[in-house]
């Protein structure tokens, strides 16, 4: 339940605005007791859907922990959101606007591409950024100011390849989106891992599609002809239901698998029955309440989702958003300072219990995570299947 005392939190309704974010204008005056955290997320554009869910997690976390105490002084945490529209060109100015408005830490972004683009801005300004679900290795590489709370694509690809092999798959087809680093990257990592496990020639088809494409029948018809055991199709929320439905309509019975993006209620909603049996890896499972943080988070966030008229299925990215916010707060407290550089240093040594597991950062700034959750869609719901841990290369 909402433990927030901030104004405006209770209202919001379907506006999706139930955050404690006060307008920048009032906040600026008494900067003394306000610390700003930037939310660098796509809320519109191609990845707007996923980005928004990540923002929900962050807003909720802010509701839960609206203040942070530094050196005995209580600071109010103010979220500054900047929509990067899933667009690299816009990402630069969006990132810049966060820096300009004085954010000390940045959270985000959904979609690695924009994170990579903005990374330079953050490191130039020496403001630490904490990625939530950006799984591309490039995000943190060579950037001392970028951290992230999720695992990486090479890991995820390997996890799914292992899972496929465990399920007895001998052949696989891969569908990726052209010009999309997440999709192409994950597809590639999967391929490498799967070929290692199942031998040369086990990947029987590699198909690509264009951004905004909505018709997958042609590539699916090709795949159907190859009759693979599994189809691995890491892609965006928007394309997922199309691929699933069109595959089933063409009579393809192979097992469909994908990465974290597919863990999204809208996919089930849109793909309906066809989605049954789809498997994916993700960061979080709402059924897993073994950890204290998660046990508290799950009911509270469900309540929150309900208050903003969203499905009560917790998307993993929301959990990551929540964790990223926690990391920021904890780092500020640990740093004992509101200075960005100090916060960065504090992040480096940070270790805490997040809702997606224990989080600490390695040299690159990546979370030391060696476990992924495999989920399967069953009866119109994401069913937790098992956790898989692999030694990431």
């Amino acid at each position: 339940s909402s433990g927030s005392g901030s104004p405006g939190a209770a209202s919001g309704g379907d506006n999706g605005n139930a955050s404690a974010a006060a307008p920048a204008a009032n906040g600026g005056d008494d900067a003394g007791d306000v610390i700003k955290i930037g939310v660098f997320e796509p809320q519109t554009g191609e990845n707007g859907g996923g980005g928004l869910q990540e923002v929900y997690g962050i807003r909720y976390a802010n509701q839960q922990f609206p203040t942070v105490t530094v050196g005995g002084k209580e600071y109010k945490v103010e979220l500054v959101e900047a929509d990067n529209k899933s667009d690299k060109t816009e990402a630069v100015t969006a990132a810049q606007s966060l820096i300009s408005s004085g954010c000390k830490v940045i959270l985000g972004s959904y979609g690695s591409g924009v994170s990579i683009a903005a990374g330079e801005i953050f490191s130039d300004a020496q403001v630490p950024a904490i990625g939530c679900s950006c799984t591309n290795p490039q995000v943190t590489q060579g950037n001392d100011y970028y951290f992230r709370v999720c695992f990486l694509d090479p890991f995820q690809g390997t996890v799914m390849a292992n899972y496929a092999a465990q399920e007895g798959a001998k052949t696989a087809a891969i569908i990726t989106q052209l010009g999309d680093d997440y999709s192409s990257g994950l597809g590639n990592f999967f391929k490498n891992a799967f070929v290692k496990l199942a031998g040369e020639g086990s990947v029987v088809a590699e198909e690509q599609f264009q951004t905004n494409q909505t018709d997958f029948k042609a590539i699916l018809t090709n795949i159907k002809a190859k009759n693979p055991d599994v189809i691995f199709a890491p892609s965006s929320i928007a394309t997922a239901p199309l691929i699933i439905k069109q595959a089933r309509e063409l009579g393809i019975e192979s097992k469909l698998m994908a990465g974290d993006t597919w863990e999204n209620g809208s996919i089930i909603e849109n793909a309906g029955d066809s989605a049954e049996g789809v498997a994916l890896s993700t960061f979080f499972d709402e059924g897993d309440t073994s950890n204290q943080a998660a046990a508290e988070f799950i009911p509270g966030f469900k309540e929150y989702l309900k208050s903003i008229n969203q499905d009560e299925i917790i998307p993993a990215v929301s959990a990551l958003g929540y964790d990223a916010y926690l990391a920021a707060i904890k780092a500020i407290e640990a740093a004992g300072s509101v200075d960005s550089a100090a916060i960065r240093d504090a992040l480096q040594g940070l270790s805490y219990e997040g809702v997606t597991g224990a989080i600490s950062f390695n040299e690159e700034g990546d979370a030391n995570k060696d476990m992924a959750f495999i989920k399967v869609i069953e009866n119109g719901e994401f069913k937790f299947l098992k956790t898989v841990s692999v030694e990431a290369e």
Binding site: P7, G8, S11, G12, N15, G16, N17, S19, A21, A22, P23, A24, A25, N26, Q43, T44, L52, V80, E81, A82, D83, K85, D87, K88, T89, E90, A91, V92, T93, A94, Q96, S97, I99, S100, G113, I116, A117, G119, E120, D124, A125, P137, Q138, Q141, G142, T176, Q177, L178, G179, D180, D181, S183, S184, G185, N188, Q208, T211
Partner: protein
Amino acid sequence: MKKSTKYVCSLAVAVIAVALLFALDANKTGAGMLISILQKSAILAVVAVSMNLLNGFTGLFSLGQAGFMSIGAYITAILTIPVKNLDGVYYMSGIAPWLRALKEGMEASPSWLQAIYPFLAMIVGALVAAGFAALIGIPVLRLKSDYLAIATLGFSEIIRAIFSSPQMDQITNGSYGLNKVPTFPSVFGLPSLFTPFIVAAVSIALLVLLINSTYGRAFKAIREDEIAAEAMGINLFRHKEWSFVISSFFTAIAGGLLAMFMRSIEAKTFSITLTYDILLIVVIGGLGSVTGSVLSAFIVTASKEWWLRFFDQPLIIGGWQVPLFRTGFRMVIFSLLLMIVVLFYRQGLMGNKEFTWDGLARFFRKLGKKPAQAKGGAEG
């Protein structure tokens, strides 16, 4: 207005602009947003003026800007990414050995040469774009109006498809895009913040000189009436080709600047939307007005990405949350403003006129007169 007054005014503006840049440089963090917006506007202004050369002055309706920008951007990026970052950038398929060798060779050269490499890279990019334009111009420039537009748009999309294709992975890094592009180099020992403005100013100045030259007049003649222009002894094909090639050259220069500005590029950046955005800038500024293009590059960029941003934030006045204010509202407002400008300023902000001091003086005189007239009316 006297000529000397005009020079003084122009000089004053130039001095103020330079002083402003120094001030911005001194306060980089505080003015980060302003700097970003100004730099982006300067870059877009170059493309807008180049597009204006083609669409506004030569009357060739071309929608291939994004493609030519991508050529400039990719070549600049590939040539300037430091060797030490290559493995990180080309993490998936590696870089082509010859390219690596070339880049290693470049880094081994004397430092004065290295200082100008970024500019050379931009020029190489621009030359490649110009060459490509010359090539496709031969068949395409025979087409008229909308057919030309769609053909150039098609070429732009083809370029994009090539850049993002898996076959080009070792050169353009295909789907993964390029990052770790160094930011603007410095020129003449000035802070690097100045660079995009200097390059933009030089590019635009050259374009203006061209437009006002005898060739520029020939371009205008073609725009007005091709048959009459031909009857005036103007070789249609040669002049159209020049206009197309030169426009592409500067468009690619802007592409190179954009790569340095964004520091990471991918093929998606150069989709048709980018061309539409530029067309928007050109038309809002006024088709056939260089100063209009420059002005509107700034106004459009700033309002879209900066001034209107508060619409995306929830607004709470005295505890009451103003409805409508939430993410996405900014773009709705932006599109509405756009529509208003288009519907009420059909000719764009400047029409086909250029900014002149006389024009400004006239404008203020008119402003001053209006209330006076109203008074006069009341008396009478």
